[in-house]
């Protein structure tokens, strides 16, 4: 760690020439000598509404098998094509095999029948509500993950990062956020222009632009120092090539580089499986492929992070669940409640949280979907307050008066 910080300092000073280093730059470089290790929250959004009932299989429910004659994952029997039993009631999709180790090590917890109180089955609205953290209210200008950050006088420029081309709804707001499809894109290739802009903006009397540009060049400098170094994941961790794997690889890199990351966001799509959710056999096909990438990415991240997982909690979400009954196209349609994963050192894993409402006809929401028994804000709120230590939960989830804890985290 020490050598990296020295490297940062030297490269920063070299960028401007030692004598010419502006005061603010010297300050920030030296300030980094004693970084505070902050807790980190990573939010993963599965866009398109993943079929939670085939991600975590309620294999003790006869209704699951009755309503899904062709796409149900078989009851656990130890084979590669069946669910992997967790607790006698639920099992992982066989593509999520890589996560069983994390379950056994009690790093991974599962929250069942979780979702939004809003009834919408529109992807757009449901994602919007989950990301703004205010179901039913459309005009909320910012996102829950941005509000989860506390106000600081001198925030680290890379405290909030999204691995996406645009700042996602979850992270929009008054705290600075950097969104990059790939962290290598965050740079100015033209070094002459970079130097000229640095002095132009450093010298302007325009206070807004001057102040922000200072942070811009600091962020560029930090990114440069990271971009230059080859990254080898620890413990032989292998990130899959899909989008989520590559996003998590870069998040791991940022965490290990101690850039002051506090929250990170990544999303992955393809879950809207109306048609051919499974192949001819239930454990194959679109969903199986997506889940393999998903599980392998989470598994690789956890392995790569090693002990640093103590500071990290990763949570996954998707806008709503899918119909319990399969449709005529070997797929499922838009439903209601879903499943979330929480992974990390603070998590009391190896347990399925949430009240299971059952799949009997009279137990279903509107006679067709899994009922919501846990508000998603209960889970996210607990992570914000207990993991991140931001107790101003009423401003992170305004108007939410539901349960504040599900016992998910160690305190």
């Amino acid at each position: 760690m020490h050598s990296r910080r020295l490297f940062l300092k030297n490269s920063a000073l070299a960028m401007f020439g030692v004598g010419a280093a502006p005061g603010w730059l010297a300050r920030t470089v030296y300030a980094q000598q004693a970084p505070q290790r902050k807790k980190i929250l990573i939010a993963i959004f599965q866009r398109g509404a993943v079929d939670g009932l085939n991600m975590v299989i309620p294999h003790a429910e006869p209704a699951y098998y009755q309503l899904r004659p062709t796409i149900a994952i078989p009851r656990p029997d130890g084979t590669q094509t069946a669910a992997i039993d967790l607790d006698g009631r639920f099992g992982l999709h066989p593509s999520l095999r890589g996560l069983k180790r994390l379950w056994d090590e009690r790093q991974l917890a599962i929250i069942e029948a979780v979702g939004s109180p809003d009834p919408t089955r529109s992807h757009f609205d449901a994602q919007d509500y989950m990301e703004s953290g205010t179901p039913g209210l459309k005009a909320t200008p910012d996102g829950w993950l941005n509000r989860a950050l506390t106000r600081e006088a001198h925030p680290a420029p890379l405290r909030a990062v999204s691995l996406s081309p645009d700042v996602p709804r979850s992270l929009r707001g008054s705290n600075e956020v950097i969104a990059v499809g790939n962290i290598n894109d965050f740079q100015m290739k033209d070094t002459e222009a970079a130097a000229a802009f640095a002095s132009m903006y450093g010298g302007t009397a325009d206070r807004i632009l001057n102040g922000t540009a200072r942070e811009t060049f600091e962020a560029i400098r930090i990114m440069q120092s990271i971009q230059k170094r080859p990254y080898t994941p620890a413990s032989g961790a292998k990130y899959p090539n899909g989008r989520l794997g590559q996003s998590l690889r870069q998040i791991a890199l940022l965490i290990k580089a101690d850039v002051g990351l506090e929250v990170a966001f990544a999303d992955v799509g393809g879950w809207d499986t109306h048609v051919n959710e499974t192949g001819p056999q239930p454990h194959t096909g679109q969903l199986a492929n997506l889940l393999r990438d998903f599980g392998d990415a989470l598994g690789a991240f956890s392995l790569d992070m090693g002990d640093r997982m103590e500071d990290v909690t990763l949570v996954t979400m998707s806008e709503f669940g899918r119909t319990v009954k399969e449709n005529g196209d070997r797929g499922t349609d838009h439903g209601h409640a879903n499943v979330m994963f929480a992974l990390g050192g603070d998590v009391r894993g190896g347990k399925v949280y949430g009240e299971w409402p059952g799949l009997g006809r009279e137990q279903l929401y509107e006679g067709r979907d899994l009922n919501v028994t846990t508000d998603f804000r209960t889970v996210l709120g607990e992570l914000v307050s207990k993991h991140m230590g931001n107790t101003q939960i009423a401003s992170v989830f305004p108007g939410f008066s539901g349960a504040r804890s599900s016992g998910l985290l160690q305190t």
């Binding site: 645009d166 290739k189 001057n210 811009t216 679109q286």
Partner: protein, 588 residues
Amino acid sequence: MRTVGSVAAVALLLGPAFAGGWKIKPIKASANPPRYAAFSRLLPKDERFGHAIEKLTFGARPGDLDEARQMGLEKWLDRELHPERVAENPALGPKLAELESLQMSAREMYLHYPPPQMIAAVARGRANLPEDPELRLVVSRLADRYLQKQDSQAAAGADGQAIGNPNNANDDADLAPRIRLSDILTVEQMETLRSGRPEDKKRLLASIAPEKRLDFVWALRPEQRRQLFTVAPVALRRELMLSVNPQGVVASDLTEAKLLRAIYSNRQLEELLVDFWFNHFNVFLNKGGDRYLTPAYERDAIRPHVFGKFYDLLVATAESPAMLFYLDNWQSVAPTAVGPNPNRNKRGLNENYGRELLELHTLGVDGGYTQKDVIEVARCFTGWTIANPRKGGAFEYNDKVHDKGQKVVLGHVIAAGGGMDDGLEALRILADHPSTAYFISLQLARRFVADDPPPSLVNRMALTFGKTGGDLRAVMQTMLASPEFWSQGAYRAKIKTPFEMVVSAMRATNADVESAFALGNELQKLGEPLYRKAEPTGYSSANAEWVSTAALLERMNFAVALAHNRIPGVVAENADWRTVGSPDFQRK
């Protein structure tokens, strides 16, 4: 800066004195709290020309300042306020004519640029091929491709494309091509595709034989495809897009037209106002049916009214299928009503439109309404719906699901049995409300003057709004006749939005924009993808919204790319990154 208070000049601009008698009393500038002192210091007379151009256009072209000086300020302002009297730039028409969807109805767009759902339906034998022979070919090829994709997906690995992400309109995800790229291109050509300059890529595209183009485009990865689209001439690019993602053509036509008009139109204030009002009454292009409903929304509901009466604008947006879809009112039914399909239609009252109508469109969040008013307003609009909402359908009033009871909106009783007129009556109550006059004036002043405009100005504008029955041209006139507009407080007080910055760069450098497709992509990088603000607030004009660490980097990178002619479709010979990327250029 030295200030010269030219009271006489301002008095001239102010025009006739305002009569009282309305609820809002105008305040003299001197009565503003001390933090507005800069709005009492007038700009030197000579600086007002440049100031007017910065504030009321998308930025000066070379020569614009001299022209304004010759014309005189009053005549110049009058021209901007009466775009119908201004001859349009002859360069604009031919550029817009290439974007064929612009003149179509939403329904025609749906038929000419079908959505993936329609293609899937054809592929699965649940819908017929279109009659039009050309379109028939396009759809049958896409349906073929759809089936091939379904087959290959079972075997192929996950591609990780963000399908289902509302921000990603292009569902043209990866698919193992029938013909591999290496079978079509030489090694050198592959290299050009990977890292060539735009002009080399353009040549590469031109060298592909027409009969091979389709295979070529399908063999590309989505990212390569998007890059190649940026270098193609407009007509060819539209043809190629039509063969992989027809729906995307509607979106790109709309985006490009907005950029082209802003860059080339001689009716600059009108274009600024269309952008302002679109954001005020925001809809989101990528939400379901709005992919086809948005172009007509801007064209038919927003544009004709920006210098008209606020009530007419309000009604046009309320009745527009785009807004009905975006804020879900099309699904809103009286709690007691039963739809044709009881399982799907038991949603009941949907308050989303009612809430945003009060909070964002008219009264403002502090405008003095209650949750009860939201519900009452929502009840007025039950039955305002859309025929075929996802297929470019039109407004329809369905009396069967309308709430027939009496409503009370902001203390006004709307008698039972009013039918569709309940909604119109609610709009009238809202348009006539003093809070609306104030809120609309405030929003205009925030956009055209400064983030925190002085109350004296806003009140004066609100008074005009009230006296003229919401005449938006008169409100703008009042703003332009106010000393606060011509003050140090307003001078360069705003950070340009990315859209304004990009367009002003084109204008300042006299750029030749052959295609604005790449500029649309640049705006996405800069944080303002056009027509894609998901929240009903629309894009904010507040400075804080547009100044962030990442955004500044993108602005600087944009300046460098422009100066090095690396933005396809744009030739800006005089562009200098030192100018376009400078702090000064970010302000207006």
